[in-house]
């Protein structure tokens, strides 16, 4: 019992139709800012609960729910005398597992795939019963500035076209945990109340409301309240036979959830730290035991309020308790992604053509494991940049950056979304495994270590022919690392090199001695080269890397 696919159309940043698949356990959505990660979580939660940002959307429709471009094109078409169709938001959720009665009830062909499926369809659409009003509006003005949202309605149906569905009839319960922190008017947190309520069975729920009612009733029968009421009655001059008194509001159905507050060690829940709030909410929803309902936990960027060690604790509880629960998590944190498993990654990206998603579920298992153990690696930085250059250490990182700047008017590679990442050379292949699957452009800059065949040709033969992967190294084995390579590239202008390094010709008069100096002051020389104004020459293989950066 889980969410298999979401179809999102015209909702917020999604122009036109967007489809995304989810697997049963953990799903990690990553992507740059503005690629629509949070919107996916919001859309799923909306179609499962009717709730957006803590409020029932039914009463709070607005034009801003719609994709801006879609609205603009509608308005401009209208202005140009065309008869455009009013835009419609459509969120469809396809479920997996249709063996139980509750699921079968949602089964039918009312979906955009026009096939038999189990799921729900949530639409914000034009309400045809306003035809007269809409026509009158258009007759009066021949153009509109905004979408006529007052003529819109929400249509929430199962794939069997049953419009009487409610959160209760949908067998997947969702909890959205984000940092927006929605509260009831008394300050009690909407989500925490809901999560706690979800944990109770019917009998327990009835028990709570009963207890709440009794407290109110005993308030009413308290002698001092009775006395006050007598007083009120005596002093007020209203018509005979009518009784006036003060009382507590017993009218609302679920009064207790909006009135009761959750405390943690005597501190109101919303007053505790946000990081702690996030952990508690998540743990509560993970501990949810009701077996008849499947749970879907939607987590938005949990790293936001958590320190590294808290994050670790958080991930641990997610991985330990996520059995039989589906989790969709959006994150910017490589640590979160590595720990929860890169194989669960869904990468969102945006291009001129539209939005795209890539799944990394075919990652070799030893590579998955590698990143789980060594979760400090910046996998997401690697995935999210336009092109990545992997280098072997700090000094290579500095020199490559400097080479790039020299050829790009002082512009850092990162400013063009080219990320130079320093990793241990043992990890190169692990990153290449990821790049191979997502066809991510990556260059490796590496030393030959005097064993060109073994260290370069043999080591990377698995990636030969993979277009997005390029290996840059020099085959001259005597120039085994970066330092002799630089000296070699500058052998005709050793003075300039010496100047850049701040060393004297008298002490370092041969190429060999400069190499020796550089090797023994590795980081130092790299820093000096990075900061120098001298025109240093770079080894051929480095120049090629920089050229590769500019390839389309």
């Amino acid at each position: 019992m889980n969410l298999k696919t979401a179809h999102i159309k015209n909702f917020k940043c999604y122009k036109g139709s967007f489809k995304i698949d989810f697997s049963q356990g953990v799903n990690i959505i990553v992507g740059n800012n503005e690629t629509g990660k949070s919107t996916i979580l919001e859309a799923i939660h909306l179609a499962l609960s009717g709730v957006l940002k803590g409020h029932y959307l039914r009463n709070e429709l607005s034009q801003y729910l719609f994709n801006n471009e879609v609205v603009e094109s509608f308005l401009s078409n209208l202005k140009n005398g065309k008869n455009p169709e009013l835009p419609c938001i459509h969120i469809e959720l396809f479920f997996d597992g249709h063996t139980t009665s509750d699921y079968a009830k949602l089964q039918g062909d009312n979906n955009s795939m026009k096939t038999e499926a189990v799921g729900v369809s949530f639409k914000v659409e034009y309400d045809e019963s306003f035809n007269d009003e809409y026509e009158a509006l258009l007759a009066e003005k021949n153009e509109l500035q905004t979408l006529p949202i007052e003529f819109y309605k929400i249509t929430w149906k199962s794939f069997a076209r049953d419009s009487s569905i409610t959160t209760r009839s949908i067998p997947i319960k969702s909890v959205l945990i984000d940092s927006s922190n929605q509260r009831y008017k008394n300050g009690s947190d909407v989500y925490i109340s809901r999560i706690i309520k979800n944990n109770l069975n019917l009998k327990e729920k009835a028990g709570v409301s009963q207890a709440f009612r009794q407290v109110k009733e005993s308030f009413m029968s308290n002698p001092s309240i009775e006395a006050i009421n007598k007083q009120v009655k005596k002093n007020s001059h209203i018509s005979t036979n009518k009784n006036i008194e003060i009382s507590v509001d017993l009218s609302t159905q679920n009064a207790w959830e909006t009135t009761l507050m959750t405390y943690l060690d005597n501190v109101p829940f919303h007053q505790i730290g946000k990081g702690e709030q996030c952990i508690i909410k998540t743990n509560l929803s993970l501990s949810h035991k009701k077996s008849e309902k499947a749970d879907l936990i939607l987590l938005e960027e949990p790293e936001n309020h958590l320190t590294h060690s808290k994050l670790n604790e958080f991930i641990k509880s997610v991985t330990n308790n996520c059995k039989n629960k589906q989790i969709i998590i959006s994150t910017h944190s490589s640590f979160v992604a590595n720990k929860l498993g890169l194989e669960n990654l869904i990468l969102l990206s945006k291009s001129k053509v539209g939005r795209k998603k890539t799944y990394i579920n075919e990652l070799p298992s030893d590579t998955q494991n590698y990143f789980k153990k060594l979760s400090g690696y910046d996998t997401l930085r690697f995935i999210l940049c336009k092109k990545a250059i992997l280098v072997e250490g700090d000094s290579d990182e500095l020199v490559v950056q400097k080479a790039y700047m020299d050829m790009h008017d002082g512009c850092l590679p990162i400013e063009n979304r080219i990320d130079v990442i320093s990793v241990r050379s043992l990890a190169f292949k692990r990153f290449l495994d990821i790049a191979k699957i997502i066809k991510h452009p990556v260059a490796i800059v590496t030393d030959n270590d005097r064993k060109f065949k073994e260290k370069i040709i043999d080591k990377y033969e698995d990636y030969e022919g993979v277009e997005s992967i390029k290996i840059f190294a020099d085959e001259r084995e005597e120039l085994n690392t970066l330092e002799p390579q630089i000296v070699d590239a500058n052998k005709k202008q050793l003075d300039i090199l010496r100047k850049a390094l701040g060393i004297k010709k008298s002490r370092y008069n041969s190429e060999k001695s400069i190499v020796k100096y550089m090797v023994s002051h590795k980081t130092d020389t790299a820093l000096k080269l990075f900061e120098t104004a001298e025109e240093i020459k770079y080894p051929r293989y480095l120049e090629k890397v920089i050229k590769w950066c500019d390839d389309e």
């Binding site: 079968a104 039918g108 026009k114 038999e116 049953d162």
Partner: protein, 388 residues
């Protein structure tokens, strides 16, 4: 093996009570549907459960036959039936009391065929055949639509249904006709346990007028079950569990049984609680002029064939068709002229519909049935007593 059952019941024999008792005994994890043709009976079932249980258990759904067909038969796969129905919602149902979808000319005048009958749309005109212009489906074609859609989807409708319900009860099954029989057949074939309960004598409605299985109209469900199911679909017929009336006394049972001499005679039950007597029990004829006095004395509920009959509005009044399933202490019946003929001589032929309605009216009363009938002083009327 699934359990398919047809229970033939006498009026007042407690068939709804039996259904409810069985349904409430089914394990809470299994979903149960109780469906019946009329809204009145659906309400009756609901309130009977509420009297027993305070609340309707979550695993039990009660809905009318049409609402059931719309929700689980028409809507889930309407798109697969016809592409137009992906785009257009079916906006409910239009109750059609006669054959639906007649043709009209451009000026809205009915079109006729050469022999003089009306022209109708056929299945080739999909939209017009099944729907009104604003996409309401004709009630007489719902079950045909469901069967058609099930064939198109290679059985998906009943496969889906069998995942939802483990047991389905159909009360007042005698009201079903035409393609409804085909639906019953499909239900029998599925792995849902089906129980049909009905009284073939009480056919006061017919769900559809479509000419399918004409042999079995007017309540011949038993004959249908016996001859149309084939060997692989099993259904047991039970005519004994519900043959005694808990409502009517001996005299009322005897008199009402005269309407259906081919059926086994209905006998009153022997329960002590059901067999209370009063000073005025049995079947009586009352002259029109004495009706006012009679009503004042006994406060009987007036039953009439249709609204057109004049009654005394100071007392309760119901149409024959509305009282099915109800128990009333005393009734007074305003007979139609055909019924009067039958009262005079029980050999007189009564139309099926009239007979069924009259039968329903007769079998409502616990103690006394009065029939407004201007008898002459020396007239011998079989089976009834003269009042005054």
């Amino acid at each position: 093996m699934t359990n398919n059952k047809l229970i033939i019941a006498a009026a007042g024999s407690g068939k709804t009570t039996l259904i409810i008792k069985e349904a409430l005994n089914i394990d809470k994890s299994e979903k149960v549907l109780i469906t019946t043709y009329t809204i009145e009976n659906e309400k009756e079932i609901r309130s009977k459960i509420l009297r027993e249980r305070k609340s309707i258990p979550a695993n039990i759904t009660i809905q009318t036959w049409f609402s059931f067909l719309m929700q689980h038969g028409v809507k889930p796969y309407q798109g697969s039936m016809n592409d137009m129905l992906f785009e257009n919602d079916i906006k409910g149902m239009l109750l059609s009391n006669e054959k639906s979808a007649p043709k009209f000319d451009e000026r809205g005048r009915p079109l006729f065929i050469r022999g003089g009958g009306r022209q109708y749309y056929g299945e080739k005109d999909f939209k017009e055949f099944y729907f009104t212009s604003n996409w309401r489906i004709f009630s007489d074609k719902i079950s045909k639509f469901v069967i058609g859609c099930n064939e198109k989807t290679k059985g998906k409708i009943f496969t889906r249904l069998s995942k939802i319900y483990s047991t389905i009860y159909i009360d007042e099954v005698q009201d079903l006709a035409g393609f409804d029989f085909e639906i019953i057949k499909m239900l029998f074939k599925s792995n849902i346990n089906i129980t049909l309960v009905g009284d073939p004598r009480q056919v006061t409605y017919a769900t559809n007028h479509y000419r399918k299985y004409p042999k079995y109209k007017n309540g011949k469900i038993k004959e249908f079950v016996n001859s149309e199911l084939g060997k692989r679909i099993g259904c047991t017929t039970d005519e004994s569990s519900l043959k005694k009336s808990h409502r009517n006394n001996q005299k009322i049972c005897d008199y009402s049984s005269r309407l259906y001499p081919d059926f086994e005679k209905i006998e009153p039950c022997e329960c002590v609680n059901c067999r209370k007597t009063t000073t005025h029990d049995g079947i009586f004829v009352v002259r029109e002029n004495d009706v006012a006095e009679y009503l004042e004395t006994f406060n009987s509920t007036q039953l009439r064939y249709s609204k057109a009959t004049k009654v005394d509005i100071a007392y309760d009044v119901c149409n024959f068709g509305e009282v099915k399933g109800k128990t009333i202490n005393r009734v007074i019946i305003y007979p139609t002229s055909d019924i009067k003929k039958w009262i005079k001589s029980n050999d007189a032929e009564l139309k099926d519909g009239t007979k069924a309605r009259f039968y329903v009216a007769l079998t409502r009363a616990k103690y006394s049935v009065a029939i407004v009938y201007n008898y002459s002083d020396n007239e011998e009327i079989n089976g009834v007593e003269k009042w005054k």
